[in-house]
């Protein structure tokens, strides 16, 4: 959260000490008391807590404008608040790609004689992507309140964090493959699923069909690959999130090594594919075998990570009944709601 002083392009060599009136802006959410906060890494690696929102949730609150010099009036060209969702590529800082941009005018151009509070509400805001701060790209959502003035605007930004939830069936296709090097090493590996939620467990096994090399140890690495740019300017940033040794010593033919890797211990985001056509974040399981001569044999396999919602899943009929209540005039909505409640119990 920072104060932005926008200096117009002409630039008079603006002094920071203006003789006129100045103001402080403060943005407060209506549900600040009840809304959960989530931790999110900032660009410099620090972790901070921000209010957590999901797709479709309304963002409402108040903008408090406090005049710094009491008694003096504040002339302005309008006060507004914006809800912005944007993608920022670090190598192209000037260009922000806004995929969500909503604005609400709070005050027409005029004068403010005293400190004031303005209400705002962005109803059912679409937040299609998850907040992400990576090595080369950042996706963020924030509220920005602006007091427009002739020479310099007064701004205040408030970042929020958005999580995207998904749902996948428990039983999804496992990853099973036979790989190897002719006459040297044949293994069959299996992972119980191809889609894992962030607190899931990777359960699987490695089965050795043919071993003619001296294996020192075997490990599974989780690799995060952040891809930015398009066409010829595609850039992959690989990061090994975890290294997990699953076997130490030489296996023999017919031996089966179990895999049990708990994902909850690692900091990962859901898989993000081609977000707004700007970037992707994908995860791979890398099975690595190292032999006595330090040679590495590996097999990489992509897995899909998703975030499971811990918001209570009401039965769909109940959800439908609640949703229909937003459209007034239906006494039958009431009926449907109580029917759904009955069914739920």
């Amino acid at each position: 959260m920072h104060l932005d002083l926008k200096i117009p392009a002409q630039g008079f060599g603006m002094s920071f000490f203006s003789f006129g009136q100045s103001a402080e802006i403060d943005i407060v959410l209506n549900d600040a008391e009840t809304r959960k906060k989530a931790e999110h890494k900032t660009e410099d690696g620090k972790k901070d807590k921000y209010f957590l929102f999901y797709d479709g949730e309304t963002v409402s609150g108040k903008v408090n404008v406090t005049l710094k010099n009491p008694g003096k009036r504040l002339e302005h060209q309008g006060i507004k608040i914006e809800f912005i969702g944007q993608i920022e590529l670090y190598y192209d800082r000037g260009n922000h790609h806004e995929f969500v941009s909503l604005v609400k005018d709070l005050a027409r151009p005029g004068e403010m004689a005293q400190s004031q509070t303005f209400d705002f509400e962005f109803t059912h805001v679409e937040k299609p992507y998850e907040s992400y701060t990576g090595q080369n790209v950042k996706l963020r959502y924030f509220l920005r309140a602006t007091i427009s003035r002739r020479l310099n605007d007064i701004c205040k930004e408030m970042d929020i964090v958005v999580h995207t939830l998904s749902t996948y069936p428990e039983l999804n296709s496992s990853i099973k493959m036979e790989v190897g090097i002719e006459d040297c090493l044949h293994i069959e590996f299996e992972y119980n699923k191809s889609k894992y939620h962030l607190k899931d467990v990777i359960v699987g096994k490695i089965y050795f069909l043919l071993v003619r090399i001296k294996i020192k140890h075997m490990e599974i690495d989780i690799i995060k690959r952040e891809t930015t740019g398009t066409g010829p300017n595609v850039y992959h940033e690989n990061d090994t999130i975890a290294k997990y040794e699953i076997m130490d010593g030489a296996p023999v033919r017919g031996e089966s090594i179990p895999i049990r890797l708990f994902l909850a211990g690692y900091e990962m985001t859901p898989t993000m594919r081609d977000v707004n056509k700007k970037f992707s974040v994908r995860y791979y399981l890398n099975l690595v075998l190292i032999d006595e001569e330090e040679r590495r044999y590996f097999k990489q396999q992509e897995i899909t990570l998703w975030r499971k919602g811990d918001i209570v899943r009401k039965s769909m009929s109940h959800q439908a009944a609640i949703a229909s209540q937003r459209f007034e005039g239906s006494a039958s909505a009431e009926k449907a709601l109580s029917q759904a409640k009955e069914d739920d119990n």
Partner: protein, 536 residues
């Protein structure tokens, strides 16, 4: 995220919500409409009933089938990827019901998700199979039984070392079928296979291990382990051998050892106690001075009523106060004239001594200035002398109940203590802190007493000289136990009187042919003793 084809037109008409039909008529469904762009005006979800006609339902559906995906919001609510109507047959059943191309389907027949091209199919509610917990369930033994001239094997299922039930293979197979039907999208482990011929001992043991592994894996999934099907399997005994199966109960003894008895599962307190008497080697006289108690917590034990089922308590109650069991044997005697009991009975002396020591340690008996003396006697194992000295201390052979409300106090609670000397009500605050006021009733004052099942209270009526007798209600959940204590006190008073009369009965006038009734029988029911109360 899968691509959903077809255009997503908003429903133009104003929302009309048909009442959700209670009977599950063929083809009824809930349809929600609206696109996912928040700026478009959409109508809310509505219920639609489509009755199958000659041309079928008359609409096509497109979209994901149980594949899942990102939750997106429609009108502010998050939904999993929904299927939508891709085509409507003009004049068909769906058209007449008001379905329009582009409508999104929220649920069918009140069950969410997963359609297959317009047909209805009963779908799995979304279970979370990844929610797991380790469950200490095991099948350590099996037994050959014969019932109704049929010979078969039952496998004993234990939880945390305590026996829950015994089931034969056939019952496991039925369990497996039922579970598979209820959780049809869960990948169940295999049950040990059927075998039409009789199994050898090693084969039986292999089957036992297989069944154990099956139960362990299946119960570790929380929704399955806690499901009604599983709970019924584990707790209820099959009608076939209702109570005929034996169970093993561990009972704690006063000297901190435990004894295990093997009884029928539906044995009553009396039957279990009888088995214990035999196991421990008590004679019938000693047996009448002890009884089975349930350990409620570190500071309270409750005598089991004669018609209770100890096994039920044994498997349900887990208390840390006594390791491994909630059942214990303790002295059941109020009278302090117990020398004759202990004189010729070293086992009784042994148990009484150990129980007394424990009671002193817990603070039930107040040793106070005699503490040093008592400790010395205990170290020297002079049990008779120890008990003799202890008998004069406060709290000896006194049953104290947890604090509870009483109708003679408007605010605050009372702690009830029952001993041979008196019936004591000690005032205390609602959280059990002792206050000064103590009321003591002589047993001769007691006229009538009863339990109030509905109000969960024990009531007694006491005489107040010239004034009218007055009823007092004590709101304790252990009203039955309190009642038993009352009965026992009066019974012992009666014995005492009989002994005294016997002693003073030179010409044997008072002799009868009846022996003393065993205390257990006398406690059934209640009666007005009226003038029969002996004054001590």
């Amino acid at each position: 995220m899968a691509e959903i084809e077809g255009d997503e037109t908003a429903r133009p008409a104003s929302p009309s919500l048909l009442p959700a039909a209670a009977p599950r008529v063929n083809g009824s469904g809930v349809v929600g409409s609206g696109s996912q762009t928040p700026t478009m005006v959409t109508s809310g979800p509505r219920v639609v009933r489509i009755v199958k006609s000659e041309s079928g339902y008359g609409f096509n559906v497109r979209g994901q089938v149980s594949e899942g995906g990102q939750l997106r919001s429609i009108n502010g609510e998050l939904y999993a990827p929904l299927q939508h109507v891709s085509a409507v047959l003009p004049g068909g059943a769906a058209d007449r019901a008001g379905i329009v191309k582009g409508d999104r389907i929220l649920e069918v027949n009140r069950e969410a998700d997963g359609l297959d091209g317009g047909e209805e199919s009963a779908v799995q509610p979304n279970y979370d199979y990844s929610d797991k917990q380790a469950v200490p369930i095991s099948v350590p033994t099996y037994k050959h039984v014969e019932q109704h001239s049929e010979k078969f094997v039952v496998y004993n299922v234990y939880m945390s070392g305590r026996q829950l039930c015994s089931k034969r293979y056939r019952e496991f197979a039925i369990l497996h079928q039922n579970l598979k039907r209820e959780f049809s999208n869960y990948n169940f482990p295999k049950l040990p296979g059927k075998w039409p011929f009789s199994l050898s001992e090693p084969q039986l043991d292999a089957r036992r291990r297989g069944l154990e592994e099956y139960l362990e894996r299946v119960c570790s999934v929380r929704v399955i382990g806690e499901s009604d099907i599983m709970q019924e399997f584990l707790s209820e005994s099959n009608e076939n051998h209702n109570g005929i199966t034996d169970v093993e109960l561990r009972i704690a003894l006063p000297d901190k050892t435990t004894a295990s008895v093997r009884v029928r599962k539906n044995s009553t307190t009396d039957q279990v106690y009888q088995a214990l008497v035999v196991k421990v080697g008590m004679d019938s006289i000693m047996a009448s001075y002890f009884a089975l108690f349930e350990v409620i917590n570190h500071s309270f034990v409750r005598k089991l009523a004669p018609n209770e089922f100890p096994h039920k308590l044994y498997v349900q109650n887990y208390t840390s106060a006594v390791p491994g069991t909630c059942l214990t044997m303790r002295k059941w005697l109020f009278s302090t004239q117990e020398e004759e009991l202990l004189q010729d009975n070293p086992l009784a002396l042994h148990y009484c001594f150990h129980q007394a020591q424990d009671d002193v340690k817990k603070g039930f008996i107040k040793a106070e200035d005699k503490a040093y003396q008592l400790q010395k006697l205990a170290e020297q194992r002079k049990m008779t002398m120890y008990l003799s000295l202890l008998r004069s201390c406060e709290g000896y052979n006194e049953m104290t109940f947890p604090h509870c409300a009483c109708d003679s106090r408007r605010k605050g609670h009372v702690i009830t203590a029952i001993s041979m000397k008196h019936f004591k009500l000690h005032a205390c605050t609602e959280d059990g802190t002792l206050e000064n006021q103590v009321i003591m009733f002589e047993w001769s004052e007691m006229q009538r007493w009863d339990t109030d099942e509905e109000g969960m209270a024990f009531c007694f009526e006491y005489v107040r000289g010239e004034k009218k007798p007055r009823w007092v209600k004590i709101f304790t959940p252990y009203f039955n136990y309190m009642h038993e204590c009352f009965e026992r006190i009066f019974c012992e008073l009666k014995w005492k009187k009989e002994v005294e009369d016997e002693a003073s009965d030179k010409d044997n006038k008072n002799c009868s042919n009846n022996d003393y009734l065993s205390p257990l029988e006398q406690q059934k029911g209640w009666r007005h003793l009226g003038d029969e109360i002996a004054t001590s």
